[in-house]
Amino acid sequence: MASLLAQDQPSNPWFTWDYVANNRQDILSALEQHVTLTVETILIALLLSFPLALLAYRYRRLAGPVLALTGVLYTIPSLSLFAFLAPFTGLRARTVLIGLVMYALLILVRNILAGLDGVPDEVREAALGMGYGRGRMLLSVELPVALPTIMAGVRVATVSTIALITVGVIVGYGGLGGLLLAGFQNNFYHAEILTASLLTVALGLTADLLLAGVTRVLTPWARSRS
């Protein structure tokens, strides 16, 4: 009786190479969409965050409002943000992109500001004493000193973007999130759900390690000190 019952239940393992082999193309295209969206999000967010952070740094009165707005936006759930955007921007990749850029922007602006604020006054005075102008001091003294903090922000923004893209499935552009939901709707196809989950986590951790490596290469002085 028990064996009959067991046979009635089709086996639904959490992981099989069969699933991976049979759906290679789907997995690869979901992965590609995920990586593309991540890279686009971070690049756009970086481009926008530097001018904003520098503005808030130069005009200190702006820093308070900028950071407060940051906090409020950060409280709004991603699904809610996509719901605000979708009626106006449509069921397209750009809806996901705009939402994710907003979140990444917040992390980056805050970390760039924190990095610049962390530059010791003595360093700044020494640069001024050596005859550096404001622009040259920013590029060759302040930004390099702030780099570790800025890169920490880039890492956090990248890892959370990779996790958040899955929610984009609501407008049809969720990268690996698309596989997650397809697996759920396809009678709880365990192998599809777990493969997509593990790939997303692996992608996040790989990106984090890569960026940690980039930080080490960019800041040789910090490396020799530790």
Partner: protein, 237 residues
């Protein structure tokens, strides 16, 4: 009809405010899922963080837990749990959300207890207090502002994340948005977005007030700064 107008019409339709798919019931469901998730996380994370903080061990452990949890998409964990024998619906959601509520509680409690002035602890020991009393009568009360900050971060994150449960058969306010996308009803999508955002912002405001209430005056600025640093570990959902 513009999406804004459609959302206004949706919110003013009495049918959307009644029964098990109405806004009041879904809000109640959303809040009780969140409450149980935070409580479950607290039962596990608080004793662990208090023990680690008191012994001064495990700083690296709390950082690792936080970093790894950031890389796990909430939606992935919700889907995995919804597809197991834990079953669909709210029980699976509560467990999945509790896993994400634990790191901020762990980090804040640990940082709060480690941050207690060593001289105070030495004085307590010198007065003959047992280790247990040092923890519960000295360290925990002094760490309370940061523990409260941890609860605030965890709760706000859980309320936000609970929205995603709707994508995988769960309840709560997210179902309004999910059903709206399903029917391509622009007004409902936008109305759901507004309701969810309002609930998240209200939770944040209410718990910020609680946190202020348990923080002594001269500590306010310092605690806020430390809580912000500890909360940096936390992600959007």
């Amino acid at each position: 009809m513009s999406p804004l107008h459609a959302a206004f019409v949706w919110l003013n339709d009495p049918a959307n405010w009644q029964g098990r798919n109405g806004v009041p019931y879904l809000t109640y469901e959303h809040l009780y899922i969140s409450l149980f998730a935070v409580l479950l996380a607290a039962v596990v994370a608080l004793p662990l963080a208090m023990a680690l903080g008191h012994l001064g061990r495990g700083g690296g452990f709390t950082v690792t837990v936080t970093n790894v949890s950031r890389a796990i998409p909430t939606l992935a964990l919700l889907t995995v749990f919804a597809a197991t024998s834990i079953g669909f619906g709210n029980r699976a959601t509560i467990i999945a959300l509790a896993i994400f509520a634990a790191p901020p509680l762990l980090t804040n409690t640990y940082v709060g207890i480690r941050g207690v002035d060593r001289d105070i602890i030495e004085a307590a020991r010198g007065m003959g207090m047992a280790e247990r009393s040092v923890l519960f009568r000295v360290e925990v009360p002094l760490a309370l502002p940061l523990i409260a900050a941890g609860f605030r971060t965890a709760a706000v994150q859980v309320v936000a994340t609970a929205t995603l449960a709707a994508l995988v058969g769960g309840g709560g306010l997210g179902t309004i948005i999910n059903a709206g996308f399903g029917q391509q009803d622009q007004g409902q999508i936008l109305a759901g977005g507004v309701l969810v955002a309002l609930l998240a912002l209200l939770t944040e405001t209410a718990l910020a007030l609680v946190q202020r209430a348990v923080t002594p005056g001269r500590e306010k600025r310092r605690t806020t700064r430390r809580a912000v640093e500890a909360a940096d570990a936390v992600s959007v959902s």
